[in-house]
């Protein structure tokens, strides 16, 4: 696990796509900082609980972040471009409800695998249309669709639940590909690579950065801003649909309250990964590391019987601290320099 993240972050050092060497240094050191935090928390966990290093336990730990991370990859691109999608958790709910309905009218696993991501894609397209065609601010538009999508799930399901998924459908959330390596971890690794390449190695990725830094300049330099934003909303919806397949398969049932509150955790993961919430900068390796950190913290606290809500305090502090500390540092440095120069 560690060697994989190291190789990913080592690759990030050779990016030619940073505007200034100073900025690049900051970004690289941000990922190094995250790596140090991840290693430190990993070490803390091994000290805190003798059960932590068990391979099966570690394998279980990955469930804490893989599904959220799948969405976080696409969300990172969206946030870098200066937009946001708060409806992702509701897309999971709607997509899962659609799959549940499909099962109830007798469809099989293959159909489910098509329906889940397709519903996600449709929701993403709807968000994209609202933002690019009707010019609505994405934060408000997706707060609206957040209520709408989950609302539709409530209309369909009410206080009932869908279950009775086919037994071979369980593989996508519970199955193992090889020894302790779960299907979800493989999916996570594959998409981490795909999104790293997409953002950092293609002209599409370059456009995403350009749009985030200055949409008007990007438009004048020939980038089809609205089309790229639309594609990003599509991707986010698609990833939410894929995550819905994994989560539904893992839980084996669908309620309208499924994945409640995930949108905030996913945004936290992206911001923790060093993506600027105002758009324009960020990297996928950073998001991968943030996913590991959040997963490790949640799992470590879980082994120590710390209630989930206390972990959320820690995540909240981490979010504010990680963004705030560098600013405290810069402010302190300015203050120090002003004293010295006097």
């Amino acid at each position: 696990m560690n060697s994989e993240t190291q190789s990913v972050s080592a690759a990030s050092q050779s990016y030619p796509d940073r505007l200034q060497s100073k900025l690049r240094r900051v970004l690289v050191s941000w990922e190094l900082l995250l790596l140090c935090v991840a290693v430190f928390i990993f070490w803390l966990n091994t000290q805190a609980s003798p059960y932590f290093l068990d391979p099966w336990n570690l394998s279980d730990a990955t469930f804490n972040f893989t599904e959220k991370a799948l969405i976080a990859f696409a969300m990172a691109l969206l946030i870098i471009s200066g937009e946001i999608d708060l409806s992702v958790a509701s897309i999971i709910a709607l997509s899962s409800t659609a799959m549940g309905y499909a099962v109830s009218i007798g469809m099989g696993t293959t159909e489910l695998l098509i329906i889940g991501p397709l519903v996600g894609l449709a929701c993403g397209a709807f968000n994209g249309l609202l933002v690019t065609r009707f010019g609505l601010p994405s934060i408000v538009a997706t707060i609206g669709t957040m209520s709408l999508f989950r609302g539709i799930s409530y209309i369909i399901l009410g206080d009932k639940a869908y279950s009775g998924y086919p037994s071979d459908f369980a593989f996508f959330g519970q199955g193992y590909v090889y020894w302790v390596i779960t299907f979800e971890v493989v999916l996570f690794a594959v998409f981490a690579i795909i999104y790293t390449l997409l953002l950092h190695r293609t002209s599409f990725g370059r456009s995403v950065f350009a749009i985030g830094n200055n949409p008007t300049a990007a438009l004048f330099s020939g980038i089809r801003v609205n089309r790229i934003k639309f594609i990003l909303f599509l991707l986010t919806g698609l990833m939410a649909g894929i995550a819905a397949v994994c989560l539904t398969s893992r839980l084996g049932s669908t309620r309208p309250s499924i994945a409640l509150g995930w949108e905030l955790e996913i945004v936290t993961m992206v911001v923790l990964g060093g993506v600027n919430i105002l758009g324009g900068s960020g990297s996928i390796p950073g998001v991968v590391l943030a996913a590991f950190i959040m997963g490790l913290v949640t799992f470590g606290f879980g082994l120590l019987n710390v209630p989930g809500i206390v972990m959320s305090i820690f995540i909240g502090l981490l979010l504010i601290g990680v963004i705030g500390l560098p600013r405290v540092w810069t402010k302190g440095l300015h203050f120090w320099k002003s004293i010295v120069s006097r």
Binding site: P137, I143, M146, R150, G151, G316
Partner: protein, 328 residues
């Protein structure tokens, strides 16, 4: 002048839409439009109105406060625990404690936004989970039930003055206070100036960071006050009270025509927006629609309202303010 006419028109349109919904529901259930029932709908929406006004002050300055519901819950739990352990504390003192504590929590948000310049959405996303977690720590996950609260604690929001409940009076007083603050004081006008153009606001001598901080303190204070009202009204306090309510508050503002880009919005609009959600919530059971429809309907209302806002903002912005809009 033109600006004023446009804002008034938007509020009037919303008011007419609200009346239309009430009239529509009345065709199915005649009692719905009776004075008594409308008063009870207003009473039901009071807490949302109070919160929406605080949120509007924040949104006017181009910020957003997602932590209001957690703030409400934390303060609500605190005053409920104070009341159940020290029943001797008089209710007015508890209300003042609630307002001050809420304001302090708002100050935390405000200082992080002002001094550390962290984007407001990140700050309040963080404090949203932190406040909620602190409730668990102080209450140990326990509920404070009705029988543990003193009768006076529960009775206060329900007691009636001149035939109107204290809860409704709170909303009316809040509406008046915010109307005066936002239209008749320098601090209130500064909120609009910052939202309209932060750079220009700096050159006119407004301390943008401090004004934003003030807006967060205001939002915190109303959240704290609403925290007491909520817990006393529903006579129960636990970790998850008002969970997810932060988005209802934003929704009320958006439906009320408060622009998420800052600088646009009226007290009347935010109030009508909150009332709109309240009417829908109360009307669904009356006309035999399952309450499960409520979420989807309010979602659609948000989308329609924000679409409407975007259209009217674009119309005026395109010709006159083109340069200012691009530079901001």
């Amino acid at each position: 002048m033109n600006n004023w006419r446009r804002l008034i028109t938007r509020d009037v349109v919303l008011g007419v839409a609200l009346l239309a919904v009430i009239a529509l529901v009345s065709t199915r259930a005649a009692d719905f439009s009776s004075v008594k029932n409308l008063a009870s709908v207003f009473n039901d929406s009071s807490i949302l109105i109070i919160l929406a006004l605080g949120q509007m002050a924040v949104i006017l300055t181009r910020c957003i406060d997602l932590s209001m519901a957690s703030n409400l819950a934390l303060v609500g739990m605190t005053v409920a625990m104070l009341n159940s352990n020290f029943a001797a504390i008089p209710i007015p003192i508890l209300v003042i404690i609630a307002i001050i504590m809420g304001a302090m929590l708002g100050l935390v948000n405000g200082l992080l936004v002002w001094q550390l310049e962290i984007p407001p959405i990140v700050v309040t996303l963080g404090t949203l989970t932190i406040f909620r977690g602190i409730i668990f720590l102080i209450s140990d996950g326990q509920w404070i039930n009705a029988h543990e609260m003193s009768p006076a604690f529960k009775a206060f929001p329900r007691s009636s003055i001149l035939g109107v409940t204290v809860l409704s009076w709170s909303a009316i007083v809040a509406i008046i206070l915010f109307a005066v603050l936002l239209t008749r004081t320098a601090a209130g006008r500064a909120f609009y100036a910052i939202g309209g153009n932060p750079n220009a606001a700096v050159y006119t001598g407004i301390n943008v960071g401090r004004s934003r901080c003030l807006a967060f303190v205001l939002a915190g204070a109303v959240s704290g006050f609403a925290g007491y009202l909520w817990v006393a009204r529903y006579a129960v306090a636990y970790v998850d009270i008002a969970g997810g309510f932060e988005l209802d508050i934003v929704a009320a503002c958006v439906i009320g025509g408060v622009s998420i880009a800052g600088g646009l919005g009226t007290v009347a609009g935010a109030t009508l927006g909150a009332l709109f959600l309240g009417v829908i919530k109360n009307a669904l059971p009356v006309i035999n629609i399952s309450p499960f429809w409520q979420l989807a309907i309010s979602g659609s209302a948000i989308l329609i309202a924000v679409g409407f806002n975007a259209q009217s903002e674009r119309r005026t912005g395109r010709i006159i303010l083109k340069k200012a809009e691009q530079s901001s």
